[in-house]
Amino acid sequence: MARVQPILSIRNLSKTYAGGFQALKDVSLDIERGEIFALLGPNGAGKTTLISIVCGLVNPTAGSASVDGYDIGRDYRETRFRIGLVPQEFPVETFETVTKTLAFSRGLFGRPPNSAHVEKVLKSLSLWDKRDEKIIALSGGMKRRVLIAKALAHEPTLLFLDEPTAGVDVELRKDMWRVVESLREDGCTVILTTHYIEEAEQLADRVGVINHGELILVEDKDRLMREMGKKELTLSLSASLDTVPAALGKHGLSLADEGSKLVYTYDTQSERTGITALLADLNAEGIHFSDLETKQSSLEEIFVDLVRKPEAG
């Protein structure tokens, strides 16, 4: 079966700014149609530069990118028509009303007026009641929604969300997540950058990690968590220990909570987890426990590991 063309294809993209700072180094990436892709990376890693190049805000130094098979430079009308961008900051026309600013965005991107679509977008973002209000009168969270509504006004098929929930409260963040989920249901491809790893964990189908301008990993989120994630078994001891007995040394145990807990880390992917042998050795040493719990490492821990590795090396 023929492979479906990616909605976004980036090839060997590099960007060096005038001051000499190399923000992107030979980045290649394909984004599949309809997926939610989370681009993770610390500040200054190159996330916004990557998005800005695809959207036409930053000129690339080398490489190419295409949207739906159209080149972002040569066929800029075709590519930009398909793209919606929600930037990090709050750049909105403060003296305009919500409806008028959406009408402006829709027209700017080449779409004729369509009040039914604008109404649908406003209602999906709980902005319908605010439609005639000036943006200056809205709260920060509402302004963020307006930015998303503006990006959706021209019915894009590829939406970039650059830190969509930065600085918003937990409730609004969860509202945003619902919006993103509904976009997925409508078939819109979403690429989001975020500092909140929990967000990527919650929403993304695939995860990309970028650091120092290099894309160091692109992986299916579930597989990533399965393969790179570790599990910890924590045993609450009946009696505290000062040190880990020598006979248990081979298990690589560590003590926690002033010796009241033993922590065992194991790989879920290996053939044997070693838990049975550990429990037998504990029994042989006369060490008893009153409770036990296991914990899977989060995407955040995996991310921190990935980003730290090259620096440590």
Binding site: Y17, A18, C55, G56, L57, V58, N59, Y76, R77, E78, T79, R80, F81, I83, L85, P87, E89, P91, V92, E93, T94, F95, E96, K100, A103, F104, S105, R106, G107, L108, F109, G110, R111, P112, K150
Partner: protein, 253 residues
């Protein structure tokens, strides 16, 4: 051609004008009326005629040009600088629009506003002095060319400026002196010969002279030369804007 985008930008800019109608329309009319009172009535009463035209009527074309130039620069420079300042320019830069469409929207709206102001000042002047226009078509041509050329110049200024000070410094330090020394209130034939020659290096002389000719059929320089210089200025501005969009100067990093 993305006509929806042109319409969106144009409508947005015109809406901004109506939102600030007092500042946009009343202020230039008031300041021009004051010029009429001071130079036309008070001081002008001591000057009988210039080149056979009563002084009050003589200064009308110059005053209209003065307003057109300053308003065109101020409107279009603000129109592009403010979105750059607030960051909202990202939307225009990421939209499927060419520089021609951006210009049609921004410069078209700014030039429309200048034309409206020019017309209002013309009508206001009629309240102070009787005015006849010998060549209405030439008058409208000059009005249009000057509005578009200076709106383009303002657009360049708005892109070049990286602070509010730079945005205002060029109109105050360059345009205002050139306009006042360009024959707004006098004919350059009234100057000593050396200053007449120096004045010919001032591009505003050609604009005002040509525009005044359309009213009273007398000019400091040939009307064809005036038209040619105005068109040349417009083309230089247009090519500069084209270069700005091609290279992304101060717009794209």
């Amino acid at each position: 051609m993305n006509l929806h985008a042109v319409k969106a930008i144009y409508a947005f800019e015109m809406a901004r004008m109506w939102r600030t109608a007092v500042q946009s329309l009343v202020a230039p009319v008031l300041s021009t009326s004051l010029y009429f009172v001071i130079f036309g009535a008070a001081i002008g009463s001591r000057i009988t005629e210039v080149d056979g035209v009563p002084y009050g009527a003589f200064i009308v074309p110059g005053l209209i040009m003065l307003s057109i130039m300053t308003e065109s620069i101020s409107n279009s420079s603000f129109a592009i600088y403010f979105p750059r300042f607030t960051g909202t320019v990202f939307e225009v830069l990421s939209a499927p629009v060419s520089y021609v469409e951006v210009l049609l929207g921004y410069v078209g709206a700014a030039a429309t506003k200048s034309m409206i102001i020019g017309t209002i000042i013309f009508l206001t002047a009629n309240l102070f002095v009787p005015i006849e226009v010998a060549h209405p078509f030439v008058m409208v041509t000059f009005l249009l060319l000057t509005s578009v050329a200076f709106c383009l110049f303002g657009f360049i200024l708005g892109v070049w400026a990286d602070g509010w000070e730079k945005l205002t410094i060029v109109p105050i330090l360059v345009i205002m002196p050139l306009t006042f020394l360009g024959g707004t209130f006098y004919s350059i034939s009234m100057l000593p010969p050396i200053w007449q020659t120096i004045s010919l290096a001032n591009p505003v002389v050609y604009l005002i002279s040509g525009f005044r000719w359309s009213f009273y059929e007398n000019a400091d320089v040939s009307v064809v030369l005036s038209l040619g210089m105005t068109t040349l200025f417009l083309l230089v501005c247009l090519l500069t804007v084209r270069w700005i969009f091609k290279t992304g100067y101060r717009l794209r990093t």
